[in-house]
Amino acid sequence: MEAQATKTTKPKKSVLKSFLLIFKWMGKFWPLLVISFGFLVIVSYTRTLIPLFTQHIVDYVLEFNLEEGSRLPDFIFRLVDHGNALNKLLLAAVGIILVDFVRSISIFFRRSVTAVFSERVSYDLRNNLYKKLQNLSYGFHSHSETGDLIQRCTTDVETYKNFISDQIIEVMRLVLLVGFSIYQMVKLNLNMTLISLIITPILLTIAIVFFKKVEKKFTTIEENESKMTTHVQENVSGARVVKAFANEKYEIEKFEGLNRKFTDSDYELTKQHAVFWSTTDFICFAQFCVIAVVGVIYATKGTISLGIYSAFLAFSGNIIWPMRQLGRIVGDFSKATVSVGRLNEIIEQKDEYGDTHGTLKPVISGNIAFDHVNFKFPDSTYHQLEDISFDVKKGETVAIIGKTGSGKSSLINLLVKLLDFQEGHIYFDDVDIKDIEKHHLRKNVGIILQEPFLFSKTVEENIKISDRNLDSDRVAEVAKIAKVHEDIVGFEKGYKTLVGERGVTLSGGQKQRVAIARMLLKPKPILVFDDSLSAVDTETDLQIRKALKKEWKESTVLIITHRITTAKEADRILVLDHGKIAESGTHDQLLAQNGLYKNIWDIQSRIDFQIEDGE
């Protein structure tokens, strides 16, 4: 029993929309679905021929009712009606084999075509989702839950795929089978046909209603299950707290309760299933019973022949079981529409810079100008950055300091178009940032994040991530500049060490230095450190910056830092406070201003004072 399912329930209106989307996403592959359908027609038709063979053999070949004759379609009858009785019998047997051969082959082709169809469609869907996720804005990524997104990209895609490969086909198959069977039955005897169908509408209705209802029950079970698993999850990840407070007994009691509740609700559903399947079995057999009894009476009266009676028994099996099946699938449809809705929520998200996507690719030399820039987050009421204006000349090093939340990181994100600002301008050598193509900009502005992300590849692959063809000498070279070479060589597998969940966990400082190394592969006119040496000790920090200065004389460097010693060495220092530039100038100028910066500097001195005091 699968318990994985989706949680959001959607209003009626979007069900229709989801249905349209189901077909829209099939894209150019829909002809494959039509071909599948074609094979299905053959499969279903040939299946309804077999009961006619029974009739043919019983009534005609074995001569139980010669007046009735054979009801096989003419084109087949002519082929199998030769010679004496034994001969005819042999031909009929061969006929059965041939018809089933055609049916088998068609089933095979139908399945293969469906597989190609559904796999191609879901391949496209997966790739589109991935592309989409990469194109979504910084805002989207900082607000969304990774687990939920992954769930959608995997489970929901799977549900969609099952829908287009199994459910749609199954519905078509059942409808065709029922249709052809009725067609053949009507040709044999109209009254018997009506009697054979008398209870089936009830059956179909019961099945649809039941599976719709069960769907709701599922939600309760899922809720109970998720409460239980949440408890385990919290217990395990909070094992320290549980143990430190000696609450093991309490935890077990609580878990027992949740475990019991989930188990009971699960069993509750089983009970309903038991009622459904036994009741519908009863109804199905009641229908068979009616057919059998009426058939027997007709047959003894001579209204129908023995062959036709047998054929009817076979045909009714083609109708009664599929009806229940059909009800089940139709009842399950909502699962697919919910999944499609959830996927569409991702697909309909706006790409970053959908409208203001610049196209220019100017040469960026390293001059930056902020001109009265105001910025606020879309859902925020206050400005994160207010009236920011400053110039940075090519080759200059500018340090930005300020406390957490003062807007330092936002400022950096504006610079590489990760965030979009509302008012003012940012210029790179007189070109407005809004006109510059974002990828071009990002290739020119190297940014190193405070918490860099490393991919689960080897260290070497991580360093040469933006140029995979690089030789390992160059990799070692940049690793040396970033002062991470020694660390890497110290690993058992050196540069071939795997990073991440399946490999070695690097320390924060090591990660930061690898991130610096990978940024150093190609010279860039602008380099930004977003507090990216925070986990590296001061000495190493200094060494890295010195090495950089030597290598990258030409580049403009922006450094966000908490370390005053780092800031001190910059050509210029900006002090951010509550989204505004509170002070700016060189170290000496700022000291002379006797403001915030001076204050910080004084505290530095106070340590010295304390030392003197202590001695």
């Binding site: 089933i107 191609r120 990469q134 990524h141 969304s144 407070f245 093991e248 019973c289 990002r442 860099p452």
Partner: protein
Amino acid sequence: MNEDMFEEESFTSQKLDWNVWKKIFSFMKPLKKFVIGAVLSMSALAGTDVIYPLIARFAIDDIINPNLEAGTQDLSKIPMFIGIYLVFMVVQATLVYMFILFAGKIQAELAYNIRKKAFRHLQELPFSYYDRTRVGWIMARMTSDSRNLSDILSWGLIDLTWGLFMMILLVVVMFLVNWQLALLTIAIVPILMIISTFFRKYILKSYRSIRKVNSKITGAYNEGITGAITTKTLVLEEPNYHDFDLLTSDMRRQSIRAAVFQGLYFPTVIFLISIATAVIYYAGGRMVINNDYISIGTLILFTGYVWQFFDPVNNIATIFARFQQAQASAERIVSLIETKADIEDSEEVIEKYGTLFDYKRENFEPLNGDIVFKNVSFKYHVGEKVLSDFNLHVKAGQSIALVGHTGAGKTTIVNLICRFYEPTEGQILIDGVDYRERSMGWLHSNLGYVLQTPHLFSGTVMDNIKYGKIGSTNEEAIAAAKAVEAHEFIMKFEKGYETECGEGGSRLSVGQKQLISFARAILADPKILVLDEATSSVDTETERAVQTAISKILKGRTSFIVAHRLSTIVSSDRILVLEQGNVIEEGTHRELIAKNGHYYKLYTNQYTEEMLELSKQ
């Protein structure tokens, strides 16, 4: 969310390992009566399935009786025919109802038992286990593995019983009715068996391989999402997409190939059965033509029976493949349940102080809080010694700040004090007695612990505070909150103490969570307090509250603080500067600054941010 999606499935050998299954079957013992019920109802159902076609034969041969002229038949048998049919219907429906209930019961209760046992065992396992084992791994055992196992052992059992009985009964009935046709029909069974087993094996193999690619795709989505910003800043969209496309293409290729191959299975079977049907028509028809070997009803009966062989054969072929598949789940669950706890109370201790789940509080000695590390050496499961020959004496009521770089041994000392780990060599004495001579319950009910990243459980603020002392009153909880200055901000919430802490307490700020975990700790009124201070900065107001709270809760308790904040360090009684498991400097703040050594260096390097803060005030 379930992390096991990222987990590469580990698959075991093809052979069924009876040792593992025996252990799993032991979980079924309490469910014996349901198992018997399921087996009985299922075999009875197989019986009705075999009998049903015989009813049709009865109608044809005994009522319609084609050898008689139409209208001359004996209609008096029709009421009996209807009667038989009705009985059949009732029996059939009842059996279906019963077998679903039995199997459902087995499934639900088995999963329940497995989870119960596993969770209980998890509580007994020492902290080191949680250090080594990923949460996702444990979660997968508790969810998907227990589900897989209970599925196969309930519905699988049903399929197996039905399949076996069906085959046996079919063979018996066919031989009783007509042995020549029976032989002809049974001839296809071995072929069906071989084909089914062959395809099942292939299907299982391709399923595994596809699952592997699938988990790689999930991993790639995970990286694509969590690394999105890095991808943007490095302009890696194209190469990443290319890598992803390699995976999805592989998935597509493999899936199509598997589906096409699998697509051969069903048609092959149909074709085979069709040949058998044709043979029966021909052979049986000949008998009819040559007169009185068999009746026409028997001929039709056999053409029906041929088809009835397929399901049982398919079921049995599937069941073995499923057992193989479920074995991996079984092994993992057994491995969880059988993990030995390497830190346990000795039997004598349990005798005196009770188990983890059943304390004998009356035997608990009062705890003062005098702690001695006596020649303590320690190493984790893997790696080098973290502490060697470590000595320390902390008097009751003293507060100790532990300072040093990552990996210096601060956390290890804390882990040892909490007895999350035990010394590899040497002793830790509490009030002069080796703590292994007292129970863990004794230590832990006198211990308060505040984590660096405060862990709140889902539930209300009130629930979380009360977690410090299960069974305490609202008043006590509120008093604790007031003591640590948490009351004010809690009351500012719309629902006050009834505010939901949400997933991991995400709606609260880090500082607020910290204050709540202080309240939780103080409610327990511990003699020993361990505080792993948060490194992340919080807003000024909360920060101030945290500082006041810390100084308050330290009073009258022996405390160990893994300190990150200047003010906390400065106000502690004693500072230990650690490096590679050794105390390299110790003393008060003033003494250490005066030394102008390691502490001074650490101090000047690390606290610039804080100075910026201070400078604002």
